[in-house]
Amino acid sequence: MPLESAVQRISSRLSRVGRLPLLSRVSEPSAHAVSEQDAQGFLRSQKLAYDCAVAIGRELQPGWTERRTADLMDVYLRDHGVKTFFHHSFAWFGDRSSFQGFRHYWDFMPSRSRRLEEGQVVILDTAPVVEGYAGDIGFAFAKHPHAELARARSLLLAMRQELLDLFSGPAPTKEIWAKVDQRIREQGFQNCHEKYPLGALGHRLHRVPLPNLRGVGIPFTLHAYWSLLSRGLFPEVLGPWHEGEKEGLWAIEPHFGNERFGIKFEEILIVKDGQAAWLQEDPPHMKLPEGFY
């Protein structure tokens, strides 16, 4: 197919960039083989990111804008020593948490005008780099009991287990994408992660070079662009057409919703010798902290 061959050609050319003589020295090896030390590094980054989302989520009040919320998350992370990000923080409220009406890349940016209203669902998503390890989390919640969200969360947590089975099984990655999509639609929800750039259900995460260099770029930093582009981009993003290895480390972010709200989680999944396991056993969406629904 012309599109597939074009994707392969672009991907191949992009991945040559990372192998250029000087540039290859600043590019960490691919995370396809994840050592125990690396796993602990990524875990630290994930935990800090989740701590941030919970801390800011706890303070979140009606009237806060998405932009203010995201900025405070970045401030929290900077206060904890983060110098750069894979991407800066996002906050989406209400129907924006399911990307209603999003058409352009900049629609995803936290809004300066959207203010949190009582009872709305919130998604906080942030990706700090800690000691060179990029983390990426997504956390959906409401500040008051929300029956619809609770039902969606049950489906999301069931999907968390199903993803382990899929990644441990023989299905190729694009089939995994299709199965998740089918599952979402069967339950009467819209697939929201298909609206992410390249329809990402997930993406690779790597150690980033020069982590003490302050991150430039909005919302993804140059560190992120380098990380993905120098490895060919397309094999790094698990979209509906993905072809490539399952082994190694992924940030997996199933995201679905309806016209009123969306729900997601984003966690690191490590596939080693054909067996998949979540890096973190106890992220906040598994057992919601007090005051979160």
């Binding site: 900025d71 401030v75 929290y76 904890h80």
Partner: protein, 284 residues
């Protein structure tokens, strides 16, 4: 009296504040934020009186001052970082007191932190009191007022690292006495010691000038009481017009006096704040 000084490691840094130990139920928290070159003691004449009346009071030491250790990373002095510290202090106290509404009260540069905290509290905010304390944006917009420019001529000096730090560093007592004398403080107030780290609050606010000048501030919808000194050596008397876009309901009171009204006009300021707090409570 049941005031106690508390210390805790909040967000990785040792932070100190005064708080009540036995507040009466149902009363809103009064959160007092001091200015420069002061510490939390500058609010004692007020918070002691309110504490005796059963109000839960909190009076933090700003980052870099007294028991609130200075931060090596200057980002910790930004208004956003300080507001996260203050929210953390509120959370600590509300574990014992239960969730309560809050009246935020600021003096001098404590006022800019008071505005920031007020904007973050949502429906919990009952009111905002500013004593000799414009918001950063209001002060910057006074650049068209020559008298204010003259009164603020010390600020550019504060922004340059190394100059004012010597004056307000280990031998700060003389400089603090000078500043207080200029600001009309005649009542005794303990000297705070080395307050050079407080200069970082000015510098952080300046680094944020793009957001201050070009972004519309969030409107504070709770009542605001602004108390100004007619003869304030550092600040021109504000106008009602200055608050447009900042707050819905502003009561402006101009008193005879200079820059440390909460001490020099202690009883008058106390009555104004008390009436405001009771009025805000009844209005809820």
């Amino acid at each position: 009296m049941s005031l106690r000084q508390k210390n805790a490691t909040l967000r990785g840094l040792s932070t100190g504040w005064w708080s009540s130990s036995e507040p009466a139920p149902g009363k809103p928290i009064l959160f007092f934020i001091h200015g420069f070159p002061d510490d939390a003691e500058s609010w004692r004449p007020q918070f002691e009186l309110f504490e005796q009346a059963g109000y839960p009071v909190i009076a933090p030491y700003l980052r870099g001052c007294g028991p609130s250790e200075p931060a090596s990373d200057r980002v910790r002095y930004s208004r956003d970082a300080v507001v996260l510290d203050h929210l953390e202090i509120l959370r600590e106290e509300c574990r014992t007191w239960g969730e309560r509404e809050v009246v935020v009260i600021g003096h001098d540069i404590g006022g800019m932190h008071a505005w920031t905290l007020a904007r973050m509290l949502g429906p919990r905010l009952k009111g905002l009191v500013l004593v000799n304390a414009p918001d950063v944006g209001q002060l910057l917009r006074r650049v068209t007022r020559p008298k204010q420019v003259a009164k603020s001529s010390y600020i550019p000096v504060f922004l340059v690292r190394g100059i004012a730090d010597r004056w307000f560093g280990p031998e700060a007592d003389r400089s603090v006495r000078f500043a207080r004398k200029k600001g009309g403080l005649t009542q005794p107030l303990p000297l705070p010691g080395d307050v050079s780290s407080l200069l970082e609050h000015y510098r952080a606010a300046f680094r944020d000038f793009r957001r201050v000048l070009f972004q519309k501030p969030d409107l504070v919808r709770a009542p605001v009481l602004a108390i100004a000194g007619k003869d304030d050596a550092f600040l021109e008397v504000p106008t009602q017009q200055e608050f447009k876009g900042y707050a819905d309901k502003v009561e402006l009171r101009v008193l005879e006096g200079n820059h440390w009204l909460q001490i020099e006009q202690k009883d008058q300021v106390h009555r104004l704040i008390q009436r405001f707090v009771e009025g805000a409570s009844h209005a809820s």
